[in-house]
Symmetry: D2
Subunit: 299 residues, 4 copies
């Protein structure tokens, strides 16, 4: 298929490379053009403008946040202006439900197809084509995209015809991880102060009731207070919690754990934690217990 | 080994039966004596008094709560009064850190060994000898108990020489489950109101980041609002959260999610939820969102 | 002084009338023009357009929310376009810190003065010229406005030269009231269930430690569960809490009671409380305690 | 009247002195006997034992906490053992609802009268006979006590015949103050970071909506971060919040602000705040906002 790809960060580059390997004809664009190099070496065509990336049947976006996706899509000479009628925009970024809804409407009015397909997985999973992909959009458009999604992920979860639903599910998944982090922070502060090595307790949890990646990955980071370098930086975690709460606000769903998480992130950022991993909110529970860090016993 | 077993509820009966099968010489006691019947049929000796169950090298208790364990151990003609010097009391109930500390001291003064060994697992796991057992106590005593623990569980997690530590870890594990339940309640209210079938979202979670028993078991119950019959009744869940908060209070560890859970259970019980499963606290998040139940879309 | 007044709701009408009585030459505008009638009868000139109300030295706005104030000020043929250079816009509405900041910048660029002067007080206080007025803006501009403020209020609190500060203080004051309401809801549920008449307890509070209007007014409403007709409707209360949290978010100040209030309002609205007074969030604490209403004893 | 007085701390001494001044025949007891000196100089008889203080028609207790009152009342040679049949014990300490209930039952069985009469007011108010007194107990007993209460306080609030009710109301009042402190902490962190002097904002509040002692007293302390010497130490504040939550637990009333306060006090104590005034919990909101203290602007 003839595919444009916009947004070549750690995730996007790996995803575009897998599409190339699957034999698709790729045109790649990035605001900082040097990021295109590796893909051009693999056989992609480098685009100088968004418009060039919109000349095929499909354009995929994988961008940092709402404002980047809004600009690339709705800005002058953006996707909306340059993608062909009947062609499809697959939006794979983690963005607000509201923006996804706005783009759905804009593309519909422009006679273009719009599919939301955000992902779970870190750069390693993207490189290994092991992403989990949440997809929502018109059935026919989703069907056309399926081979592309299959080349990037290990499994696709269809969530209906309304693209905003996929954005909501993605934010909800991130909320689940953030809630797990906070819960681990509280419990490891407790057992640590009570004389149990945090690593021992994490092993106990992940060997019994919680043998899940979210607990293994974050349990290890938290037990060792290893918050740098950030795998997913605190300001991004905060952003996703705020997008979740905005969706909850508009659906009128009170989420007390969501509110607690928002307060935790605000505090972490107010205290200078910008460059830390989002799991560093667990330092706050430790500090509240009078601990210098989780894992150091004694007050 | 010559072993007494006190407390023949669903858990205790299955555990005692496994000890019998492993060839131990069992004497079993229960306040309602008819519960001994099945074990006597399997070859156990029925005790008429606590004292009779304390005539061997080891006595195991598996009781409902602090007050039962306190009475059986410290009451007149109880374990403390009747167990031989050098013999061991293995306490497998989920009880307060404070009581475990009291019993540790009492047994020490009486020249008896005391080991705490609470478990994770439901009656089915107990029957299949698949329990996870957390054990803490003097090293020599724990070593002697190990064959008994092996006959009841699939794995033992040693947590040091201080029995109270095992009680703390058990309460901490139950807190993790309760926090998972609350988190699922909030997120399923959100996605449900946003148009995603709760069952679909649970499947998504447990197929990706959270492939863990706690999420599978409770995700299914919550998605179907199936809170009766109670696997673990709300008043027991509340009791465990309060024991956790009492431990946290005495260690001076603030636990905001623990406080939220306590408020949820109080509300559920105030509104008449005594007979429901503890996962019914998720009804509260649904009600707060204006939903009659999780899984019914529309306001 | 030659003064325009835009926004003739319950508050604005009373304030404009007091300015008339103080001898100012008033031109009044309202989107629904019939609201001008009473003031015209008192001697005001009725304006057909925003522009007409902007022909004097000062224009005052008293509007419902951000979107109304934004439209009237920045919209086509709005205040920014039509107010003379050197003339002053006094913004008395309760609006976001962000909008106040935007208007400050816009007026500065247009060579106009801008003063924020939100108020505390209900329509009765406005009618009696007993408002409390928070004022912030350039010192010279505030000095010119002072006689106008004196004609509308009983006291002015100067808050410096940055208009946004007055908006922040106003939102903070409303937060204090909302926190008082929630606190009263919790405590009256408790003492009510414990056998004390809520009215008796309110009398006790307001006769001892809390002899303050906020406690008297809301204590009486809550003790009697009198939430209709709404003095200040729940959606407005929710809006103000959200504006407060937005300001707190941008200043990075976690406010756990603010988060709790937001969750309360979301729940009240999700459950159909649109038309109730904002103090109806206290019904939620009562319901959580299993009470049909505060003040009805028994479960 | 012939009155015994037990507990001569700052409050008790002042109260006993006022009873002396009103002409009552006082016998005073304190565990550290030197505290009796000043009262003996004023004409009181010094008692060597609790029993000696129980020889009159009334004995009043004003003690530090549950454990002191329990020991003095129910301990060997305590009030229960030594007070005459038909004589009255007036319990003025701030203690748990549960203890008040226990004492009610014990005195009833012993044929003695029991009245709970906790107070609002600091030592200065006690000295000036300006206390507010909450009283509950059998009507006849309360009637007999009234002249004594009148000699100690400026107003008595009758709360029915069940002594526990007065204890509940006292704890509820302290909760109102603690909630006010927390709310002030959050709001002053916000406005302080937003550029408003905390003292200015406190003045604004107490000049408008909140002209109440609780706001004046604590507003001033918080705005100046003056937490030493402690007027009411943090551990006492924590204790009262826990007694409140225990009462709420037993009545099944969730109190989210109560839970928040408990977490705040735990944190303050875990971080070494034992000797600070209870209003020092406001430091925590300031720290969460990245402020070294309320009132210092800038991050």
């Amino acid at each position: 298929m003839k595919v444009g790809f916009i947004g070549l960060g750690n995730m996007g580059s790996a995803m575009a490379a897998n599409l190339l390997r699957a034999g698709h004809e790729m045109t790649v664009f990035n605001r900082s053009p040097e990021k295109r190099r590796a893909l051009i070496d693999l056989g992609a065509r480098g685009a100088e403008t968004v418009a060039e990336a919109c000349s095929g049947e499909v354009v995929i976006t994988m961008l940092a946040d709402d404002s980047a996706l809004r600009r690339v899509t709705l800005g002058e000479a953006g996707i909306l202006d340059t993608l062909g009628r009947g062609a499809t925009h697959i939006s794979m970024s983690t963005v607000s439900v509201e923006l996804t809804r706005d783009l759905t409407q804009a593309h519909e009015q422009a006679g273009q197809e719009f599919v939301a397909a955000p992902v779970f997985g870190r750069p390693e999973a993207a490189a290994a084509a092991k992403l989990f992909i949440l997809v929502a959009g018109p059935a026919a458009a989703v069907r056309i995209c399926q081979p592309l999604l299959d080349a990037m992920g290990q499994r696709t979860f269809p969530l209906g015809t309304e693209p905003a639903t996929a954005s909501l599910a993605k934010l909800a998944g991130n909320f689940m991880i953030a809630a797990t982090i906070e819960t681990l922070g509280e419990v490891l502060s407790l057992v640590g102060k009570g004389g149990i090595e945090p690593g021992t307790f994490v092993d106990l949890l992940t060997s019994t009731l919680f043998p899940a990646p979210a607990y293994r990955t974050y349990g290890a980071l938290i037990a060792e207070s290893k918050f740098q370098p950030a795998g997913f930086a605190a300001p991004l975690g905060h952003k996703d919690v705020r997008l979740l709460l905005a969706a909850a606000e508009s659906l009128r769903v009170p989420m007390p754990i969501g509110s607690l998480l928002n307060d935790r992130f605000l505090r972490l950022l107010a205290q200078g934690g910008e460059s830390l991993d989002w799991s560093a909110i667990t330092q706050l529970a430790a500090a509240d217990a009078g601990l210098a860090r989780i894992g150091r016993s004694g007050a």
